[in-house]
Amino acid sequence: MTIAEPSTAALVTAHPMLPEIWRIANVRRDTSDTFTLQFNTAEHAGGFEFAPGQFNMLYAFGCGEVPISISGDPTKPNTLIHTIREVGPVTKALGALKRGDTIGVRGPYGTHWPVVESAGSDIVLVAGGIGLAPLRPALYQVLANRRDYGQVVLLYGTRTPADILFLKEVEEWRARFDLQVLVTVDRGDQDWLGTVGVVTRLIPLAQFDAGNAVAMVCGPEVMMRFTVNELVDRGMSKDQIYISMERNMKCGIGLCGHCQFGSSFICKDGPVFRYDAIGPLLPIREL
């Protein structure tokens, strides 16, 4: 009699805190403080399926675990990609890794952007800084099914021209006839001929029908609040707007309570929330 080895998926289901070992296939430095890790799915049967907006818990061995959104293409489950900004010891440890090194991965976790559900609508993606990384999978999915949507707009704000994430891709997106891409920076230099100013100033310039649009917003919380106000001024209602929330997550599965926000756990009930559900809680400083 032979006893079958339990599958990895079964193990993860049985032990949700058990990370799976993934090997880094490629490391790319995006900006001075941001890098992208690409993982080899060859060692993982079935690849890695996820929905845009979901995140993984990434474990830098001997250092710690952090929640990081998936920045790759959900229509290509043969790749797993994370884009990470170095802000603390774990992300710095991840940034020091090289091709062939391994990390622990748990996930995918959390809610997703309503890309499929928004078919037939105009799509407005508003990203601030590293917030473009969690929105990129949504854009990939929209572009893979471009005929299902009306106007598609990407509005992106970042610090300086040198901080523009995925620069080559942003330029390719801008060259498309079926996508409006507007980029602004907080500070320009001599060589920058583009827009300077906050990302909210791009909203009046965006081409979409406010009555038939879905907005997905990701960036620092202050930026998201101001962006939502501007979208509402433009004529959108709060139930047409989704934001991605960030809090201190530990378990990633709604057990530990670190990311509790009102009656929700950001890791399990979020990170993507419809604004009318989460917005009233944002001004509460104790949360």
Partner: protein
């Protein structure tokens, strides 16, 4: 004159202005074209103009020795440029440089101030519109000051 009046009437800054006030403003207005790289004004110059951009792009910037021009804001079609004409000492605090060929209406600040003194309702309307622009730009400047996208920003 007719086209000046039309341009003024169609400019977003002048939306909702009384007809007789528009007529008063036309008397202070002229057309301007600024080529790419040329300056509307430079820091320290006397500020006696309100520019209403019709088309093009303008960078509002500082010049820092060793760093060159640092752009803090770009303006484009339909934006007003400059409010230093409103208040003493009537001096520009920044440079304004055209990024590409830019067409604008220029309203003579001294002329406008004179008309505002004669007609307080015009003065109030212009001040109200100017304060709304100042409020928007102050809010934007405060957000830029926060350096929201800096390395203290959340991990994503």
């Amino acid at each position: 004159m007719e086209s000046l009046e039309r341009f003024l009437r169609e400019h977003p800054f002048c939306r909702d202005l009384d007809e007789n006030h528009l007529q008063l403003m036309v008397g202070c207005a002229s057309n301007l074209r600024v080529d790419a790289g040329q300056f509307f004004f430079r820091e320290g110059d006397p500020a006696n103009e309100l520019y209403l951009i019709r088309s093009g792009r303008v960078s509002v910037e500082f010049f820092a020795p060793g760093r060159g021009p640092i752009s803090i804001l770009t303006l484009g079609d339909g934006d007003p440029l400059g409010w230093s004409w409103l208040m003493p000492p009537y001096r520009w605090k920044f440079d304004a440089r055209a990024l590409n060929v830019t067409r604008a209406l220029v309203l003579d600040g001294k002329c406008l101030r004179g008309k505002c003194e004669q007609d307080y309702k015009l003065g109030y309307d212009l001040m109200r519109k100017s304060v709304a622009i100042v409020e928007q730009r102050l809010e934007a400047a405060r957000m830029q000051l926060l350096n929201l996208y800096g390395t203290h920003a959340e991990v994503r």
